[in-house]
């Protein structure tokens, strides 16, 4: 290499790093924004619209199916009617003259049909695969019908790959590494200064999270910031990806709760603890519910400590629904600050499917998509009401989050995807069915005994809460 080449290389590297520093790191440190990312987002949207239009035109010309059919399911589910209703309908057609309800051979059809319906299409497993997109965002990951429709589109897609993997990915990795190094270094430094500790540590944390946010090109819109979680409370949010933590911590300081990890994560965890209090559990302690509750309770009681960030679903869901909240954090008895996070799927699928991708390949995927665009809504704080138990409180909070984020509110336990269903649900079905058979005849016996004209309130009309 001649001297000239080396000089050019040196200059370009210097220019590159200066640009990086001025446009990305300094704003992150100072907390200001040039508006580059929103400009980027708007440009991308325009390109996607153009690309989708071309694909539709191209598909029409060639008479091909562009969109996956039945994006909303394969079978038409009848409007949900209760077990009682359906069985009575089954019987009504058989024996309308019968006064005493009893077992009918036809009853099995109800369970049979429900069973086969769930084999063909069920609510729970749908939530654990990435959402299907209706338009195309130049990532083959999200469109199954990508075929060679036009030369221009393929070129655009190829260009997209070059940009994403050649430019964006290295840029983002550099930023991420910078961010983490800064975090490690600065938190250690701050730990040496006893006086201005909490103020400085806040600033340090915020700065590092801002760098990480830029490392992912995350474009976040915060709504209702007046409801931001305060000290002595617990912040509760729906969980889609580990990045949720970065998204929320970008706007405020939280104490995180989690298991102690080894390796790089462990180093980061230890560094964070030096300058602010987080709650890390050893693997063995995680099972001990009392210990967990006690530590959380102690933390919350101390009003100088930051609010705790908890994801009660316990696992990542694909951002179309909210699943059952584990009641642990709702038993502590402090104020709960619900937060709803909704990702815009047009720019990249943020959902972490832990059974398909490991953490590293997930992060690489995230860093090589266009951007992560999301909205965060801070909901007004909630407290447990008189006469409400932890489970009811949890469901109330869950409903509020689902309503705000436009997500479906499901009763199912996210842990179901791995574990077997609790017998509780099966028992419920059996209970309902037995009421149809035996419950009604009990009513009739009581009628005969009391010899009263007015029939007792029909048990089946109580409309018991029914798990689907």
């Amino acid at each position: 290499m001649s001297d000239l080449d080396i000089l050019c290389l040196g200059i370009s590297i210097t220019v590159w790093f200066t640009l990086l520093f001025v446009f990305i790191i300094m704003p992150a440190v100072l907390g200001v924004s040039f508006g580059i990312r929103s400009f980027y987002m708007r440009t991308l949207l325009k390109i996607f619209e153009w690309a989708t239009l071309r694909m539709e035109l191209g598909a029409k010309e060639k008479n091909q199916e562009l969109y996956k059919p039945y994006t909303n399911g394969i079978i038409a589910k009848e409007p949900p009617s209760s077990l009682q209703q359906e069985i009575q309908e089954l019987r009504g057609s058989a024996n309308s003259l019968r006064s005493e309800p009893e077992f009918e051979m036809a009853d099995i059809f109800y369970f049979c049909r429900r069973g086969v319906e769930s084999i063909v299409d069920d609510e729970v497993t749908k939530r654990f695969s990435a959402q299907e997109l209706k338009s195309w965002n130049l990532l083959t990951r999200s469109n199954y019908n990508f075929r060679h429709i036009s030369l221009r589109l393929t070129v655009l897609w190829g260009l997209g790959i070059l940009i994403r993997y050649g430019v964006l990915l290295p840029l983002r990795v550099t930023l991420a590494v910078t961010g983490i190094c800064l975090l490690l270094v600065l938190t250690t430094l701050v730990a040496f200064l006893p006086n201005a500790e909490s103020y400085l540590s806040e600033k340090v944390h915020l700065m590092c999270y801002r760098i990480c946010v830029r490392a992912l090109t995350a474009i976040i819109t915060y709504h209702n910031r007046e409801n931001k979680p305060k000290n002595g409370g617990i912040c509760v949010a729906n969980h889609t990806t580990p990045i949720d933590v970065i998204i929320l911590a970008n706007d405020g300081c939280y104490s995180l709760v989690g298991q102690v990890h080894g390796g790089l994560m462990g180093m980061v965890q230890r560094a964070m603890v030096k300058s602010s209090s987080h709650i890390w559990f050893e693997r063995s302690e995680v099972k001990d519910r009392h210990l967990v509750a006690k530590r959380l309770g102690d933390h919350v009681a101390d009003k100088t400590k930051q609010p705790i960030l908890v994801f009660p679903e316990g696992t990542c869901i694909n951002n179309t629904s909210v699943m059952m909240f584990k009641k642990g954090s709702f038993e502590i008895g402090c104020t709960v600050y619900p937060v709803a996070i909704k990702y815009d799927p047009r720019f990249g699928d943020a959902f972490w499917n832990s059974s398909k991708f490991g953490m590293v390949s997930y992060l690489l995927r995230m860093m090589s998509s266009w951007a992560i665009v999301c909205s965060v809504w801070y909901l007004p704080p909630m407290n447990r009401e008189e006469g409400e138990d932890a489970v009811q409180f949890a469901n109330r909070v869950k409903a509020a989050i689902a309503a705000q984020g436009g997500l479906v509110d499901l009763i199912w336990d996210g842990g179901l995807k791995r574990a077997k269903v609790k017998d509780v649900f099966k028992e419920e079905q059996q209970k309902l069915y037995s009421k149809v058979l035996v419950g009604d005849s009990e009513d009739q016996m009581e009628d005969k005994r009391s010899e009263d004209g007015t029939p007792e309130g029909d048990e089946s009309s109580k409309d018991p809460a029914e798990g689907q």
Binding site: K68, P69, Y70, G73, I74, I75, A76, E89, L90, S93, A94, N95, E102, F103, E104, M105, A106, D107, I108, F109, Y110, F111, C112, R113, R114, G115, V116, E117, S118, I119, V120, D121, D122, E123, V124, T125, S129, A130, R141, S142, N143, Y144, N145, F146, R147, W412, K417, K420, V421, F425, K426, E427, E428, Q429, Q430, Y433, S434, L437, V438, G467
Partner: protein, 197 residues
């Protein structure tokens, strides 16, 4: 998800399956995706634990019977054609086909009233001897009611059911007796699932 395009090439013997079951090409494609999705280890066939992973099915009192209906006797796996053939029973009855086929040579479609009844009959008749014995009936009742009724109540319910349906008084319910007792039930509707076009 990946970029696997779901077209008919993946589906073995598609034309034949379509004729046999009456599913359209679009239905088959979608069913294949579902099959593929349930097949967690990408084996190309389903096993017991793949079915058991469907949580809504696990809470169904007769869930395990339904699962077993998919497996031919002696086999431990379900391939795609078998999967589709069983699901074909649940297609709504074609009203423009006559009940017993035009000529005797044409086999009855899977979703005819008789075949739907046969499917339900087999849910009761687990040993496939063509008759529902008192014990088999009791097993179904136990599955559907378990803790909710006493053993005596179970016995009396089973007793009543057999008495009503058993016409030749051999203490078992044959398929014809089963069919007769369900004459007035709207099977076509209740044992059908509407597959979206």
């Amino acid at each position: 998800m990946g970029s696997s395009s779901s077209n008919m090439d993946h589906i073995p013997d598609a034309q034949h399956l379509m004729q046999e079951t009456g599913f359209s090409a679009a239905h088959l494609v979608r069913l294949y995706e579902r099959f593929d999705f349930l097949d967690k280890d990408d084996r190309g066939e389903l096993r017991l634990d793949d079915f058991e992973a469907v949580s809504e099915l696990a809470m169904n009192p007769i869930g395990d019977r339904i699962i077993r209906a998919f497996f031919s006797p002696g086999r431990e796996t379900v391939d795609f054609p078998s999967f589709v053939r069983i699901l074909a029973h649940f297609r709504p009855t074609d009203t423009n086909r006559t009940r017993n086929g035009r000529n005797g040579a044409q086999p009855e479609p899977a979703n005819s009233r008789t075949n739907k009844l046969k499917f339900a009959f087999q849910l009761y008749d687990q040993d496939r001897d063509g008759k529902i014995s008192r014990e088999e009936l009791l097993q179904v009742l136990r599955a559907m009611l378990e803790m909710q009724v006493t053993e005596e109540q179970l016995q009396s319910i089973a007793e009543r059911a057999i008495q009503e349906a058993d016409l030749d008084l051999d203490d078992t319910i044959s398929f014809d007796e089963f069919k007769k007792s369900l004459e007035k039930v709207d099977i076509e509707h209740k044992m059908s699932i509407r597959f979206l076009e």
